[in-house]
C-alpha cells in the first residue's frame, strides 16, 4: 500500500510499504477514506520528538471502512464506517475506566522508553514515535487499529460526509477538551493562543460551553480572520500589539478567566519585548523549546484562573514562571486529548447542526501529494490551515 513515511528531519515521502495485518485479537484493519495532517505531525517531522525511525508511517487523524476484524471484536462488522481516535486505549485499565484514555496503561508496548523520559508512560498513539508505541500511522491506504472494540466510533448516518466527522479523531475533541477543562462560567472571557486548527476548535468550543467572549491570538491575518468569521472570536495579532496589555485592556485589568494554549513547542517569538524572560530567551535564540506562548498565557491569566495547555511539549522548558502560577493561585490543566470520551457527544453536536467542523479545511489533496501538503501547512503557503488527504 501507499503510506506517508518519516524519512528524516523535514523529509516526508509517500512510499510503497507492506499492507497491515491483524496482530492482536482485538485489532481491526481499516481502509482509509480520509486522513489529515496535524500540528503534532509538524513537531514529529521537525525532529522535536525523539525516537522517530526512518520509515515510520505518520498520521493519527483518520477514518475509513472496516475491512478485517480480529476474532475478539464483536461490536463492529466488515463494511462499517468508522472514525478512529488518535490515542490507543484498552478500555480495561484503571485509567481507561476513569475516562483518561490517553493515559491507557496497556497500549504502549514501549512504555519503558517513555518512563525513562517522563517518569511514567502515557498511552500509545498512531504514528507518533517509538516512545509512544511504534504504531504505524494513518496517512496511508490502510491502518491496523488495536483495541478496535473500544476506540473507533461507527458513523451510521450516511448523510454525514467524511469531512464533517473526520476531525472527531483529534482536533475537535482536543479543542473541546481545552475549553472544557477551564470550567467556563457564564460571562467568562477566554483567550486562545494559536489560531491553527486546534485553536479554532478551542474558540468554537468555548462558545459552545457558554463563554461570553473569546479572544484568539496569532500572527497570521488569514487564520485570525477564520477565527473571527467562522468561530466568532475577537482577535489579537501579537506582532502588532502587546498581548498582555491588550488582554488587560479588554478585561478592564482582570485578565482572561481562562487561557488556552494551542501552540505547542514550536511557538514563534513575538516581536515586542514583553517581559524580561522573553528578552533573555530571545537573546539566547533557543530553537526547540519555545514556550513563549505558554509563558504569556500564564502571566496574562486572571488571578485564580485556569491555564489549559493543549499544545504539545516533549521535554523541559527553561524559565517557567512558576512564581506567577503559585502566588496567583492559577490552575494548570493539560494532556493529550482523551478523545474516546468526547466522540459521541461531539458527533451529536455535529448532527444537530451546532457546529460544522469543515470550516477549518483549506486544502484537499490526494495521499500521493502528502509531502506538498506538509510543506504548505508548515510554511502557511496559500493561506493553508488544514489539509485533508484522500488515499
Amino acid at each position: 500500500m501507499k503510506a506517508t513515511c518519516w524519512m528524516g528531519v523535514h523529509r516526508v515521502k509517500v512510499n510503497d510499504v507492506p499492507d497491515p495485518r491483524i496482530l492482536n485479537d482485538r485489532d481491526a484493519i481499516v481502509r482509509i477514506t480520509s486522513t489529515a495532517i496535524c500540528g503534532s505531525d509538524l513537531h514529529l517531522v521537525g525532529g522535536y520528538v525523539p525516537t522517530m525511525e526512518k520509515g515510520d508511517i505518520l498520521g493519527h487523524e483518520f477514518m475509513g471502512e472496516v475491512v478485517e476484524l480480529g476474532k475478539a471484536v464483536t461490536n463492529l462488522a466488515v463494511g462499517d464506517r468508522v472514525v478512529v481516535p488518535f490515542p490507543i486505549a484498552c478500555g480495561n485499565c484503571l485509567s481507561c475506566e476513569r475516562g483518561l484514555y490517553s493515559l491507557c496503561e496497556n497500549s504502549n508496548p514501549n512504555a519503558g522508553m517513555a518512563e525513562k523520559a517522563w517518569g511514567s508512560s502515557p498511552a500509545g498513539i498512531f504514528g507518533y514515535s517509538h516512545m509512544l508505541g511504534g504504531f504505524a500511522g494513518g496517512q496511508a491506504e490502510y491502518a491496523r487499529v488495536p483495541f478496535a472494540d473500544v476506540g473507533p466510533i461507527k458513523i451510521e448516518d450516511d448523510s454525514l460526509s467524511d469531512e464533517q466527522v473526520l476531525f472527531l479523531s483529534d482536533i475537535f475533541p482536543t479543542g473541546y477538551m481545552g475549553a472544557e477543562v477551564c470550567d467556563i462560567q457564564p460571562g467568562d472571557t477566554v483567550a486562545v493562543w494559536g489560531a491553527g486548527p486546534v485553536g479554532q476548535f478551542a474558540v468554537a468550543s468555548a462558545y459552545l460551553l457558554g463563554a461570553e467572549r473569546v479572544i484568539a491570538i496569532d500572527r497570521f491575518p488569514y487564520r485570525l480572520q477564520m477565527a473571527r468569521d467562522k468561530a466568532g472570536a475577537e482577535t489579537l495579532n501579537y506582532e502588532e500589539v502587546d498581548v498582555r496589555e491588550a488582554l488587560r485592556d479588554l478585561t478592564a485589568g482582570r485578565g482572561p478567566d481562562a487561557c488556552i494554549e494551542a501552540v505547542g513547542l514550536e511557538a514563534h517569538h513575538g516581536s515586542g519585548p514583553i517581559n524580561a524572560y522573553d528578552k533573555v530567551k530571545q537573546a539566547m535564540r533557543l530553537e526547540t523549546e519555545r514556550p513563549h506562548a505558554l509563558r504569556q498565557a500564564i502571566t496574562s491569566c486572571r488571578n485564580g484562573g485556569t491555564v489549559s495547555i493543549m499544545g504539545v511539549f516533549g521535554g523541559m522548558i527553561d524559565k517557567f514562571p512558576i512564581g506567577s502560577v503559585m502566588n496567583r493561585s492559577l490552575t494548570i490543566k493539560t494532556g493529550q486529548c482523551h478523545v474516546q470520551r468526547y466522540m459521541r457527544p461531539l458527533l451529536e453536536r455535529i448532527q444537530s447542526g451546532e457546529i460544522d467542523p469543515r470550516f477549518v479545511i483549506t486544502h484537499r489533496m490526494s495521499l500521493a501529494e502528502a509531502a506538498r501538503g506538509y510543506d504548505m501547512f508548515k510554511n502557511k503557503k496559500d493561506q493553508c490551515t488544514k489539509v485533508v488527504l484522500s488515499p
Binding site: P18, G55, N106
Partner: protein, 318 residues
C-alpha cells in the same frame, strides 16, 4: 504490608562502592561547571571569541546568563549528598547550550569551525552528564546477597485478587507473559518443570516446588536441590482500589551458576534482570486486563525492553 517492608534488600557493600564512584563523577562535573561558569561570567567577550560566537553586547549578556546557570548548577551538585536533580539540570543546560550553538552556526557572521568545535565539546560533556544522571538516579537495581542476585518490582492490575492469584497459580500460564520461559509443566508430587529459552536455540531446565501458598495473597517457589540454576521467587497480591484491583509484587533471586551454563543463564535473565522483570509484570497486566500481550509494528513481539534499542520501523512487516 509489614513483611513487605522487611524483605526490602539491604544495600550491600558493592552498591555502596558504586555510589561512591558516581559521586566522584558528579563532583567532577560540578567543578567542570565552575570552570565553565566563571569565565562566562567575568569575561564573556573572551569566552564568545573563544567559542566563535559573534561578540555583540547581547551575546555577552547571553553568555553571562549561561555562566550564572552553570554556577547555580555547580552549587547544587556540590551541595548534595546524592545530586540527581541538579545533575539533570546540567543535562538540560547542556542541551540548551547545544541549541544555542546550533542557532549561532546558522548565522552567517559566526566562524563556523570554532562554533563546531565548541559544540563538540559541549556534546561530549552532555554524554557524560547523561550517564552520570542516569546512574545516580537508579536506586532499585538488583542487589546481591550471599552471592545471589535478587530483584523486585510491582504493578497494579485492574482485576480482583482472586482472579489475579488464580491466573498466576496455574504456573503453566507463566510463559504467556514471562518472555524467557518456554514452558512450565506440572509434575507429580507438586513439582514443576521449568524450561527457559537460552541463546543459540538452547534451553535451560530446572525443577521447582511451591514453598508457600496463601490463597489470594502469596505464592512462593524455590528450585530443587541440584538444579543448574538455583533460583526462587515470590509473588504477593494485595487488594487496591477498594478490592477491585490488585497490587502485584514480584521478587526473584538466582545464584549465578557455574561456568558451563553461566553465560547462557546470564543472557536468559538478561543483562538487566530488573528491566526484564518489569517487562514481565507489564505483560502480565496486559494479559490480565486486555486478554493478550499488546503488539505494535515497531515492537511486534510486545513489550521487551531489550528490543527497544532495535525497533523495527513503524510500518507493517513483510
Amino acid at each position: 504490608m509489614a513483611d513487605r517492608q522487611a524483605s526490602q534488600p539491604a544495600p550491600d557493600s558493592r552498591a555502596g562502592q558504586r555510589h561512591r564512584g558516581e559521586d566522584r563523577l558528579a563532583k567532577a562535573l560540578g567543578w567542570f561547571s565552575i570552570g565553565l561558569g566563571v569565565p562566562q561570567l567575568i569575561a564573556p567577550g573572551y569566552f564568545n571569541r573563544l567559542i566563535g560566537v559573534n561578540d555583540s553586547r547581547r551575546n555577552r549578556w547571553t553568555t553571562r546568563a549561561v555562566g550564572i546557570r552553570e554556577l547555580g548548577g555547580a552549587a547544587g551538585i556540590l551541595d548534595r549528598p546524592r545530586p540527581s536533580g541538579f545533575l539533570f539540570a546540567r543535562v538540560v543546560g547542556d542541551a540548551m547550550d547545544l541549541l544555542m550553538l546550533q542557532a549561532a552556526m546558522r548565522r552567517k557572521d559566526n566562524p563556523r569551525r570554532r562554533v563546531m568545535a565548541a559544540a563538540a565539546a559541549v556534546a561530549g560533556v552532555t554524554v557524560i552528564d547523561v550517564i552520570a544522571s542516569a546512574k545516580t538516579s537508579r536506586s532499585s537495581d538488583p542487589t546481591t546477597e550471599g552471592g545471589a542476585v535478587r530483584a523486585r518490582t510491582a504493578i497494579t492490575v485492574n482485576r480482583a485478587p482472586e482472579e489475579v492469584y488464580g491466573y498466576w497459580h496455574h504456573f503453566e500460564n507463566l510463559p504467556n507473559f514471562m518472555a524467557h520461559l518456554k514452558s512450565v509443566e506440572a509434575k507429580e508430587d507438586g513439582r514443576w518443570r521449568w524450561v527457559a529459552n537460552a541463546p543459540l536455540g538452547r534451553t535451560v531446565e530446572w525443577e521447582a516446588q511451591i514453598e508457600e501458598d496463601i490463597p489470594n495473597q502469596l505464592i512462593a517457589w524455590r528450585s530443587l536441590e541440584g538444579s543448574d540454576v538455583a533460583n526462587r521467587g515470590s509473588v504477593r497480591f494485595a487488594p487496591a482500589a477498594g478490592g477491585r484491583a490488585t497490587e502485584v509484587t514480584l521478587e526473584l533471586a538466582y545464584e549465578p551458576p557455574g561456568r558451563a551454563v553461566g553465560a547462557a543463564v546470564a543472557r536468559m535473565f538478561g543483562e538487566e534482570p530488573l528491566q526484564q522483570m518489569k517487562d514481565d509484570v507489564r505483560r502480565f497486566k496486559q494479559v490480565m486486563e486486555t486478554g493478550e500481550v499488546v503488539r505494535s509494528d515497531g515492537t511486534p513481539d510486545g513489550t521487551r525492553s531489550q528490543r527497544q534499542l532495535f525497533q523495527s520501523e513503524g510500518q507493517p512487516a513483510e
